[in-house]
Amino acid sequence: MTWVNDVVQGILLGGVYALLACGLALMFGVMRIINLAHGDLAVVGAYLVLVVLDHANISPFLALVPVLPVMLIAGYGLQRIVLDRALRAGVLVPLLSTFGLSIVIQNILLEKFSPDVRSLGGQAGSIATGSWSVTNAISISQIGALIVVVAIAVLGGLQLFLSRTQAGRRMRATAQDPDTAELVGVDSRAVYARATALAVAIAAVAGLFLAIRSTFYPFAGPTQLIFAFEAVVIGGMTSLWGTLAGGMILGVAQTVGGQINTQYPVLAGHIVFLAVLALRAALGRQIS
């Protein structure tokens, strides 16, 4: 019966990955940019919440509120100042630019804060530690459930935005054909900037929940990044709900792998990732 519990835990873990992957998927879907600094931006979000908490004795969830506009503006600026030019220069340039950004972020975080591992779980209250026992063998952590709910809300909200609003429609149009979008009056650069702003803000949300659920430190970004990538790619890169599914498949792979051997969880995730890719390639389906 522990297998069922593993799957449940894996699904809960998948919520974190899906939330992390959401922003990544958005940037890749709209602009074909692989943002190698995405994990680090999530960590920045966590640190910014920490800064707010240093000045005000409030719940971390509330502390996120002032952080979000900062991240939105940061994302907008990142796109307009750096990534716009990078995009026009070729496929490799955004890769190198975001990698450079990743290094800059990690080391600035190291300078401003110490290399100590931190967590926001302590300040989040009972929700960080509480859990419900469904049966004797299965327990669901409250924070895990909350993260899944938030992930679904964010993904759902983003999906609604893209399919029902004019701004969302223009974003999809620009993603499919930026030149023609310009010809029908869409400012593609502004659309890109909005997409990055959203992606960075969502990364901050993901960073907060990551910090509450477990720990973070200046160099925590790249590990999260690779999990987020795996979630996006497993999910198929064609829809946001696919990203949710991808995150959960990864989560389950890791927890089941962890049961087989405590040193295996991350490796199990990698193997499942590669297997999914290989299967897709063998079936001849082009997902990109």
Partner: protein, 337 residues
């Protein structure tokens, strides 16, 4: 109605070597010969630095071959770097001579590349890039689970202690020199051959190349395997040069960052570019490497600046501005008056 005058079309000849090219190749050969004497002329410290420089050149050339000519953007070449290093350790644990082990380990990496290719080369774009990265991470985990390879804490090549430090540094240098020159020569010959024309066609427009009969998959396969061997060799040589490795750093994605930096700064898709890029990185590492955090910030910032302001790299911009073609890997038209 008047008849248009008959005009003779100008005659052209197709050449591979121009005067600049002959000079350049002679210079390159002379430089190579000169480099061979470095251990005999300079201190051990300088020799070690020169070894690092040559390893950087090797890595830059390999990554450029993959991405610049094959269009294969891999964020995971460190998989081969790590496997080359740890392959050497494994062989030495089984009583191989360290230097022979390095060569065999590099070839082993080529075999791994061959093994991976039927699957990996079917991945497109982002999937290939990230897929290679995941393979590198998986390899790192597998290695760190193996106690005989030093597990997570790292290992060194104690067999090298059978040599004196001078011998060790000299042999390491010469092996590095030999391997780097070999790969440069190999790439030079490859680019001048039929495969080379195919590669340059693929670099310019993959679909168009396929439509004129270029076997795109075969060319990519060649590049992927060659890069596997090259990066594997670089890993093995790094082990010999730095003496101690551990999984997180030898399989680290930082290697890819350095490779992208060198290739972008030097000039993607040019022959000479990666060499220029390697020299730039080498200089930066040596001048600023001791400044800790700010060195890395500076490197990251420099990468971003270069990417945004001079995306064709130093050599690419020179080629474009001055119509420079130094190494004879292409064709020239000479008008005959």
């Amino acid at each position: 109605m008047t008849q248009p005058a008959v005009v003779e079309a100008p005659r052209f000849s197709v050449e591979r070597w121009g005067r600049t090219s002959v000079l350049a190749v002679s210079f390159a050969v002379a430089l190579a010969v000169g480099f061979a004497f470095v251990p005999l002329l300079f201190s051990l410290n300088t020799t070690e630095k020169a070894t690092s420089l040559l390893i950087l050149v090797l890595l830059a050339v390999m990554w450029n071959a993959l991405a610049g000519y094959g269009g294969l953007v891999s964020i995971g070449q460190q998989a081969f770097i790590g496997l080359g290093a740890y392959g050497t350790v494994w062989l030495c644990n089984h009583n191989w001579n360290p230097y022979r082990a390095m060569i065999v380990a590099a070839l082993f990496c080529g075999a791994v590349a061959v093994g991976l290719s039927p699957v990996v080369l079917r991945f497109r774009g982002a999937q290939f890039a990230i897929g290679m990265w995941v393979i590198a991470e998986a390899a790192a985990i597998l290695v760190s689970l193996d106690q005989s390879l030093g597990a997570g804490t790292g290992t060194s090549l104690i067999e090298l202690n059978y040599y004196t430090p001078t011998q060790r540094q000299h042999y390491t240098y010469w092996l590095t020199f030999g391997i780097t020159v070999f790969f440069l020569a190999l790439l030079f010959v490859l680019l001048r051959s039929r495969v080379g024309s195919s590669l340059q066609a693929i670099r310019d427009d993959e679909e168009a190349a396929a439509s004129v009969g270029v076997s795109v998959l075969r060319c990519k396969w060649i590049l992927f395997v060659v890069a596997g061997v090259g990066c594997g060799a670089a890993g093995a040589l790094t082990l010999a040069n730095t003496l101690f490795i551990e999984p997180t750093s030898i399989f680290g994605v930082d290697w890819t960052a350095y490779m992208i930096f060198m290739v972008l700064v030097g000039g993607l898709g040019t022959f000479e570019g990666p060499i220029v890029g390697a020299i730039v990185l080498f200089v930066i590492q040596n001048e600023f490497g001791n400044n800790g955090v700010w060195y890395l910030v500076g490197l990251g910032g420099a990468a971003m600046a270069f990417a945004l302001l001079a995306p064709r790299g130093v050599w690419g911009t020179l080629e474009e501005r001055f119509g420079l073609r130094v190494m004879p890997v292409g064709y020239r038209l000479r008008r005959q008056s």
